[in-house]
């Protein structure tokens, strides 16, 4: 491991007019670390995630990312071309709704291969072999490679979306309620898979969830948000077993329906 963070976020705020999206969020993310962002609906989780992944520009604050070459770059000062390149190489983004992150009308193989082609791979056989490999890693049968995701179940679509994101070997993956729309049994399988992949690949991830069980399973560290602000953060086990903020105590004791 390295002694430098991967991402440094400082005093990040996003306002929608006068409404607070998220406010004054500060944290560092380390290589290979999974950070869960929890809180009830409307607490600002998605806003924060979208700002961090540069899908949204914050109203104020900074975020710096350590590039593969070791250089620190201020995310909101990068050109759009640089940001888009980062997003399809060193980053991944897993949407709650797989249809938002997949091309529904091209085959599973092409969905996985797209990023490779986007970065210049021009060898069909190699692209296909990589797609086969990734499908098996997310437990999708090789013989589904030429099927469109339209024909897939929700769980399969979500696994395909994950494969599509991981194929370029990103170092940081953003996930917004990755198990959100799925049945409980399907959720459990996906969580197992995610946990294994994240560990095997040494991925850093920021996972937004309203489900404390997801945070417990996936993350080493967590931040609890309320009304756009971080009310508590710390190691996941510590926060869940020994919550300090009164709001977190309510959350953990499940008095609050999140």
């Amino acid at each position: 491991m390295t002694d430098e963070p991967l991402l440094r976020v400082s005093a990040l705020s996003k306002f929608y007019g006068s409404r607070v999206g998220c406010e004054n969020v500060t944290f560092d993310l380390w290589p290979g670390e999974v950070l869960a962002v929890v809180g009830e609906s409307g607490s600002g989780k998605t806003t924060l995630l979208n700002c961090l992944s540069t899908r949204l520009l914050p109203s104020s604050g900074t975020a710096s990312y350590r590039m593969r070459d070791g250089q620190w770059r201020e995310l909101y000062r990068m050109s759009e071309a640089e940001r888009r390149f980062l997003m399809r190489t060193d980053w991944g983004f897993v949407h709650q709704n797989p249809a938002d992150g997949l091309r529904m009308t091209v085959s599973a193989g092409a969905n996985v291969g797209e990023r490779l082609m986007a970065v210049g791979d021009r060898h069909y056989g190699r692209i296909r072999a990589t797609a086969v490999d990734w499908l098996s890693r997310v437990e999708i049968d090789e013989d589904r490679i030429d099927d469109e995701p339209r024909a897939f179940s929700g769980g399969m679509r979500q696994r395909l979306q994950i494969a599509r994101n991981l194929v370029t070997g990103p170092r940081l993956v953003f996930m917004d309620e990755p198990t959100g729309g799925l049945d409980v049994s399907v959720q459990a399988r996906l969580l197992d898979l995610l946990r294994r992949l994240v560990t095997d690949l040494g991925l850093a991830a920021i996972v937004v969830t309203h489900d404390l069980a997801v945070a417990r399973l996936l993350s080493q560290r967590m931040m609890v948000m309320k009304d756009g602000r971080v009310v508590e953060s710390g190691l996941t086990d510590r926060v869940l077993d020994d919550p300090r903020a009164p709001y977190t105590q309510l959350l953990v004791s499940s008095i609050l329906q999140v």
Binding site: R84, A110, E114
Partner: protein, 322 residues
């Protein structure tokens, strides 16, 4: 009584022509880039070459010699109508001979005879955006062009190979122009793609309904996209042209009777007739003899501007036909 007098030279008013010429110049300056232009109503429906006609109308002069082909043929209704249109509104000479033409307006083919410096090839384009297939949002495709994000084009070719075992796209086969912009060469067969590469002729593309003009200047690199292990290749034909014996040309299948009789003949009718030394090929009524500007104030015809109608669109293989 002078119908012609009510029309400006080449039908379009000078201001419109200037606007279109500016778009053409911009297109030439940025090879393969789609330049928006204010497409005008033409006396023909969209889908019958309004983009190409506007381009031709903006560049044509009294000394030009115009050839118009549709799927390689000079004698289809659409080609005849457009030729007659310019004969009427610009009084230019027209020809079917590739070598004699200074401007060739085309739908779906590039002549077999290599073009030369000074010639202009004007393509009629139905759908100018090669990325449209997978990305319907115009804002996004423009961004992809601007940032040179062309992975999606290979996704399309990947799908072809996954489904058919080879790149099955045979028309409108995407190309990269001068190493920068990915361009749709219009629904010409991919057979013609290599002819675009470093052609001495100027190639202009007009899409009327979509209001886009783009260009490939002379001697510009035009490379068909492919994979290392599935390289681009043109169609080949098992037999030569049944009429003239030509090989390595693009052939059309012609049905001869109701009993399955058919033969393959040159789609480029001028090329075929030339090779056969066909005497009828030079006896067309609208050939180059009647140079518009040349025979002075040729009789102000009382026939109206020919209504431009055309044959039903040929199959553009998955693309909307122009």
């Amino acid at each position: 009584m002078t119908d012609i007098a009510t029309y400006n030279f080449a039908y379009l008013d000078e201001q419109t022509k200037r606007m279109i010429r500016r778009a053409i110049l911009k297109g030439i300056a940025i090879p393969g880039y789609q330049v928006p232009f204010a497409s005008r109503e033409m006396p023909m429906p969209y889908g019958w070459g309004t983009g190409g006609v506007q381009v031709t109308a903006s560049i044509i002069g009294p000394d030009d010699v115009l050839k118009v082909i549709d799927q390689g043929a000079d004698d289809t209704t659409n080609a005849v109508s457009i030729r007659a249109f310019f004969k009427k509104v610009a009084k230019v000479a027209v020809t079917t001979e590739t070598a004699k033409a200074t401007i060739i307006q085309t739908r779906h083919r590039i002549p077999e005879q290599p073009l030369t410096a000074g010639q202009v090839l004007v393509f009629q384009v139905p759908i100018p955006e090669p990325l449209r297939f997978l990305e319907p949002r115009e804002t996004e495709t423009r961004k992809m062009h601007a940032l040179e994000e062309y992975g999606l084009m290979h996704v399309k070719l990947y799908e072809d190979i996954a489904r058919h075992g080879r790149i099955a796209t045979t028309y409108a086969y995407p190309v990269k122009v001068e190493g920068r912009y990915v361009m749709d060469p219009s629904p010409t067969p991919k057979f013609d793609n290599p002819k675009m590469h470093r052609s001495p002729a100027l190639q202009l593309f007009g899409a009327g309904r979509e209001k886009r003009i783009y260009a490939v200047p002379p001697f510009t690199g035009v490379v068909s996209l492919d994979f290392e292990d599935h390289p681009f290749e043109v169609q080949t034909f098992d037999q030569p042209c049944a009429l003239c014996g030509a090989e390595n040309v693009y052939l059309d299948e012609v049905i001869l009777d109701d009993h399955g009789g058919h033969m393959f003949v040159c789609s480029d009718t001028d090329h075929c007739e030339k090779r056969r030394g066909d005497p009828t090929s030079s006896s067309w009524g609208d050939r180059a003899e009647g140079a518009g500007g040349a025979d002075g104030q040729s009789s102000p015809s009382s026939t109206p501007i020919p209504a431009l109608r055309a044959d039903p669109p040929h199959n553009g293989e998955g693309k909307e036909a122009e």
